[in-house]
């Protein structure tokens, strides 16, 4: 452990970091939890068990999960293609993957709505097949898929790059077939990173707002997500309800953060290197 106390600036850098985090990040979150905690139990239960809240949570969790699973499969394939194969446009594709990180969610929502609305490029042919995307949970899933697209690719990609071909060649020379190599060599290496990526994607989906509000149509009990319900309750000055829903979303975010860190710790232990 290269313990460096030689370099200057530790008190300053640490002081700035802790002060800033306390004022900008922790204080507001503390205030939110404090607000939610000041609500008496009866009201709390009434808020959480209200049909509209439950419906919003159900829709949010299901669409977030659907989009995270889709991005898990697609992200894995994307990472595989980028690392293992050479083809025209590979570098461009690799670059474009970061677009959802940089593109404002409102712009993404506007674009996806234009694409998937009844008269859109994709919406029109889909509508003729009887598949409605805009203003349905499917539309919410597509918006979430776009905004959380980079997570799985960017966590799995470096692991696949590090994998090299030694182990694979060794396994093959010992007589292992493709299925065996995937199961015993590639899968164990990639799985923790894959899990971390899917968790990150799911966490992001749970809280997504900008992209979803454009495409969802925002019908209570049908396409109203938790983030939007929070916003609506605020506009109605129903602060306790907004505080409770927001706190539950915060709790979910922390749980996912914990899951991601556990998955990453597992991964680091697995590959046997220390950060």
């Amino acid at each position: 452990m290269a313990s460096s106390r030689v370099l200057p600036g530790f008190p300053l850098a640490m002081g700035v970091t802790l002060t800033y985090l306390s004022v900008i990040v922790l204080l507001p979150l503390f205030a939110l939890v404090l607000k939610a905690a000041s609500i008496d139990l009866e009201t709390l239960v009434a808020i959480i068990t209200s049909p509209r809240t439950l419906a919003a949570f159900k829709i949010t969790v299901l669409t977030a999960l659907g989009a995270a699973i889709f991005n898990g499969v697609y992200g894995l394939a994307l990472a595989w293609v980028l690392v293992r194969y050479e083809f025209p446009g590979r570098r461009l594709l690799d670059t474009l993957i970061d677009v959802p990180f940089a593109l404002p969610t409102a712009v993404a929502g506007l674009a996806l709505t234009a694409l998937f609305a009844e008269n859109g490029w994709f919406g029109a042919p889909l509508a003729s097949l009887g598949i409605w995307v805009a203003y349905t949970p499917l539309g919410i899933m597509i918006a979430m898929t776009f905004t959380s697209l980079p997570f799985v690719v960017r966590t799995v990609q470096p692991v696949l790059e590090d994998l090299g071909s030694d182990m694979e060649e060794a396994a093959r020379s010992l007589g292992a077939g493709d299925a065996r190599i995937i199961r015993s060599v590639i899968f164990p290496e990639v799985f923790p990173a894959f899990l971390a990526g899917v968790s990150l994607s799911f966490a992001r989906n749970l809280g997504e707002f900008g992209a979803v509000v454009f495409i969802a149509g925002n019908l209570p009990f049908k396409t109203e997500i938790a983030a939007l319900l929070t916003f609506i309750r605020l506009e109605e000055f129903e602060y306790p309800t907004a505080a409770v829903i927001a706190t539950l979303m915060l709790l979910a975010a922390f749980l996912m953060l914990l899951a991601v860190n556990l998955a990453q710790a597992w991964h680091l232990r697995h590959v046997g290197r220390d950060s």
């Binding site: 452990m1 290269a2 460096s4 370099l7 200057p8 850098a13 640490m14 970091t17 800033y20 985090l21 900008i24 990040v25 922790l26 204080l27 507001p28 979150l29 939110l32 404090l34 697609y74 394939a77 994307l78 194969y85 594709l93 670059t95 474009l96 993957i97 677009v99 990180f101 940089a102 593109l103 404002p104 969610t105 409102a106 712009v107 506007l110 674009a111 234009a114 694409l115 490029w121 994709f122 776009f146 960017r154 090299g164 071909s165 694979e168 190599i181 995937i182 992001r204 809280g207 707002f209 900008g210 454009f214 939007l228 916003f231 927001a246 979303m249 915060l250 975010a253 953060l257 950060s275």
Partner: protein, 284 residues
Amino acid sequence: MTTSPSVRARPRRVGDAPVVRRSIIGIVLLISAIVLVAPIVIIFTKAFSSGIAAIGDSLMEPSTFHAIKLTVLTALVVVPINTMFGIAAAWAVTKFRFRGRAFLIVLIEIPFSVSPIVAGVAYLFVYGTQGLFGPALDYLDIKIMFTVPAIMLASLFVTAPFVARELIPLMQVQGTEQEEAAHSLGASGLATFMRVTLPNIKWALLYGVMLCNARVMGEFGAVSVVSGKIRGVTSTLPLQIELLYQDYNIAGSFAAAIVLAAIALATIAVKAVVEHYSPQPSSR
């Protein structure tokens, strides 16, 4: 990726069979075209369908022009602050070992996992009338919620980790030897940073700053809550896109959208250039 030329009869790797290879590439490209490329293409197609002059007119429309100015002003305040924070945090976390270091890294990344709506609500419960400081602010006759400073505060929260996230992995790898050498030769702390550390991290820093800027300018959820969305007063560019869209001014909303889309694409282009020229691809 590393194939030594001496290995002639390299065993076939998983997925190298032409059929498998072509079908996986084909499927991935098809999905990417639908979910990743088409959204970018349609923004520009829709915006330019009514001509460049129309875009200019839409952007010069007073409330949209005001939104652009407010968005730029917010970025001018927020980006430098979060850049300073990002550098300080990365310096503390990567150049020193201390108890709770791993926990501090998690703390830095918190805003990344928190929904922007939750962030906005949280700020409301600090500075709003119902909030922690509400009575005190009331007494002093200071109004923060639904004003421009509220937009800046919420943006500070949402984009706090972006610079730090780009710097930490890189500075971790680079270690402390060079800085220690410079310092032991008599360079001051600031000189050490400017002459030794900064040249090593400048490209990652540039990308971090640009990404932070793109996210500040594009922040929607948190700003929706804390701004009150007052048209022509606290409406930033992303909020203006929504307002125009709700007014069925589709051309106007796409005109506003290409400004932000262009900034996002420029950010991504910088990343591509940085990765191309940096010897060790240090993407997160």
